[in-house]
């Protein structure tokens, strides 16, 4: 069950906004509403389900309605029509007290310009959400300290917000939202006010934090690179409507329409696609085979090298065709001719960072997991192909399981 369901939510602005919803249902389009009734459609009949534990990115240019939409999730803005279900309960039907309870315990928010209270110290800022719930001082202090430690700001708790850099201020903003231990985190352009390098660090840290916390994060951004980097799923918005919802790969590889296509065509694929997307199935052999078998296998598969793995699929090294034929003549074993220092990388390495590695060795790059198990290989050709936009489906689906010979 989704943690947050948005059903046909619309927000109209103007003196006759209430009437506008009906007209919209009768098939008036936005231009006609604006012209005849002076009604602006901010968000138009949006539907989305946000699942527990995912990073759901809502992405769009300014004026696309994304900030308005996200403010309706905790009713900072009341929708003109539609339902917003948190754990299947419609927050539109809640009274003030129930709504406060949702805001205090279920949904916390991080703001674009940090919105730290300038008259409160860092610690007092982080405590704010707990303080208004009247949690006693020592308990909320402990929770706030824990939260500050999580974002790496231990030792800064007595500073005032204006003594901190932008990046640190936003960490405080994040700590303040986390202190309530919410299930859902709304992050409204949370990193947009930071400079690019800090921003990148914050994205990495958010991903690290997410590993530990498994919150549901709804992240608003106008930056496609950011969306692709951190999103498990992305909803692309334009003029108040959702154009496409999908994983970053789906949006890049199968854009729903020309708008999305134009949007993503300038994406630097080298920063988005990872080894997992471009790797091929490796040709492998176990070390107990002889060099003759290896040569035969290479001829059969049309490759000039083989990867040597043990029974647990762990990578031991690689052999080349040249060495194999030498081994046949000189009666050597595979272990004797094996090159054990071959280039490796983890599956989430972006391809932009793989070119250098690829140039250091004639061997393809082996993609291995934390336990050194071989997942696939990346040849230089597929790196170049991926940059040109050709991605093999096999790689995208991530099921390039190695075949074991022997």
């Amino acid at each position: 069950m989704p943690i947050l369901s948005i059903r046909n939510v619309s927000k109209l602005f103007g003196p006759n906004a209430a009437q506008g919803v009906k007209l919209l249902n009768q098939g008036y389009n936005k231009e006609r509403l604006a012209k005849e009734k002076q009604i602006t459609v901010g968000v138009n009949q949006v539907n989305m389900d946000i699942e527990q534990g995912e990073i759901f990115v809502i992405m769009g240019l300014s004026g696309s309605g994304k900030s308005t939409l996200v403010r309706m999730f905790n009713r900072l803005i009341d929708p003109s029509a539609g339902q917003i279900l948190v754990h299947d309960k419609d927050i539109m039907k809640m009274n003030a007290e129930q709504l406060r309870d949702v805001r205090r315990k279920t949904i916390s928010m991080v703001f674009q310009k940090f919105a730290l209270f300038p008259h409160r110290s860092v610690l007092d800022n982080v405590e704010y959400g707990l303080e208004i719930q009247k949690i006693d001082k020592s308990k909320r202090r402990a929770k706030a300290m824990q939260s500050l430690e999580l974002v790496g700001l231990k030792g800064w708790e007595d500073k005032m917000p204006d003594e901190l850099s932008g990046g640190m201020q936003q960490r405080v903003g994040l700590a303040r939202a986390l202190a309530n231990d919410p299930e859902v985190l709304l992050m409204d352009e949370a990193f947009s006010a930071l400079d690019p390098l800090i921003r990148r660090d914050m994205q990495d840290e958010l991903l690290d934090l997410q590993e530990k916390m498994k919150k549901t994060i709804i992240f608003i951004t106008h930056d496609l690179d950011e969306a692709l980097r951190i999103g498990d799923r992305i909803a692309l918005m334009r003029d108040g409507e959702v154009v496409q919802i999908g994983t970053p790969e789906e949006i890049l590889i199968h854009p729903a329409n020309r708008y999305v296509q134009r949007f993503v065509e300038d994406v630097d694929l080298s920063k988005v696609l990872t080894a997992l997307h471009v790797m091929r199935r490796p040709e492998t052999i176990t070390p107990d085979r002889g060099p003759r078998v290896a040569l035969e296998l290479m001829r059969e598969r049309g490759v000039s090298n083989l990867f040597v793995i043990d029974r647990g699929k762990r990578l031991l090294g690689a052999i080349t065709a040249e060495d194999a034929s030498r081994a046949v003549k000189e009666k050597l074993s595979i272990e004797d001719i094996m090159i054990s220092e071959c280039p490796t990388c983890p599956p989430d390495r972006v391809i932009g960072e793989m070119f250098e590695l690829s140039s250091t060795s004639p061997l393809p790059i082996s993609v291995v997991d934390e336990e050194n198990r071989l997942l696939g290989v990346v040849v230089r050709g597929s790196l170049l192909g991926a940059m040109a936009g050709e991605v093999e489906n096999e790689g995208v689906n991530g099921n390039a399981a190695p075949t074991i010979v022997g």
Partner: protein, 289 residues
């Protein structure tokens, strides 16, 4: 000349008699209320007067200098001490202390009434629409005009002087409280809402603390305005330094008028600097931590 011609042709609106009738009605029917107000104000003024006049002037000046030191360092401290020594020397000590008591009373009442009204204006557009023109009216109506109904309701003496000062001096506190709250960045208000604050929590934990510098500027203005009105109020029998000024003016004693005026100026400067600075160090200290 033209307006005389016009008024000869047209019947005059009887606004003056309407106001008179209303004032008459109020003075007969709301007597109990006015008596209660008069009693309270009188008590407060007496309390302040007692506090200021009971210690020896030297002791008072020392205490004042110490407070001034904390508010504005040695410059203000020195000025306050010398200024009040001068007042003592000129023989206006008693009168100045009475004036100070009146100013603090009307200032205090203005703050107690003005800040909640200012908050109301900030929270409710309707209230703001009603109260803002009322404030314009109160500030632009010549101050002397307040003296008359004040006398009608409270007879001569201290109380009508304080009431007139309050009416004259309260608008800045209301206006700047309203302004200060409205100026709090909408993002911060949104953040307070997003974490589930109640209206009161938002007001006391976010809006009022952030509006405080503006509100304090309003209070400072209120104190200065009530000082200027308290001097005028001597015309209807309020005690204090204004009496000396008024006497000197009516008897054309220029030198004495200057002396009394000087006492008012000293009092004004000390009150202004003190009320401007007394809360600032606290904020600075917090920021420097």
């Amino acid at each position: 000349m033209q307006h005389q011609l016009l008024s000869a042709d047209m019947p005059k609106l009887p606004i003056a008699s309407w106001v008179d009738t209303a004032v008459d009605w109020m003075s007969t029917n709301l007597e109990g209320l006015f008596d209660g107000i008069a009693f309270t104000i009188e008590k407060v003024v007496t309390f302040f007067t007692d506090v200021f006049t009971s210690p020896h002037p030297i002791l008072f000046i020392i205490i004042l200098a110490i407070i001034a030191y904390f508010a504005g360092k040695w410059k203000l401290s020195l000025f306050s001490a010398l200024g009040f020594l001068l007042i003592w020397n000129l023989g206006y000590w008693e009168a100045t202390m009475s004036t100070l008591a009146l100013v603090l009373t009307s200032g205090l009442v203005s703050i107690v009434i003005g800040i909640p009204i200012g908050i109301l204006c900030a929270k409710s557009r309707g209230a703001s629409n009603v109260i803002t023109p009322l404030l314009d009216f109160m500030q632009t109506m010549p101050a002397f005009v307040y003296l008359l109904p004040a006398v009608t309701f409270f007879s001569l003496g201290v109380v009508p002087g304080v009431i007139a000062s309050i009416i004259f001096a309260i608008p800045p506190t209301i206006r700047l409280t309203n302004l200060g709250i409205q100026q709090v960045s909408s993002e911060l208000v949104e953040a307070a809402d997003a974490f589930g604050s109640t209206g009161a929590q938002k007001l006391f934990k976010v809006q009022l603390p952030l509006a405080m510098p503006t509100i304090l500027a309003g209070i400072n203005q209120t104190i200065m305005l009530s000082l200027s009105m308290v001097v005028i109020a001597s015309m209807i029998g309020a005690q204090g330094i204004g009496v000396e000024v008024y006497r000197a003016v009516t008897q054309l004693r220029i030198g004495q008028g200057f002396e009394a005026g000087l006492a008012v100026v000293v009092l004004a400067i000390v009150l202004d600097r003190l009320s401007q600075n007394i809360f600032k160090p606290a904020q600075k200290r917090r920021n420097a931590k």
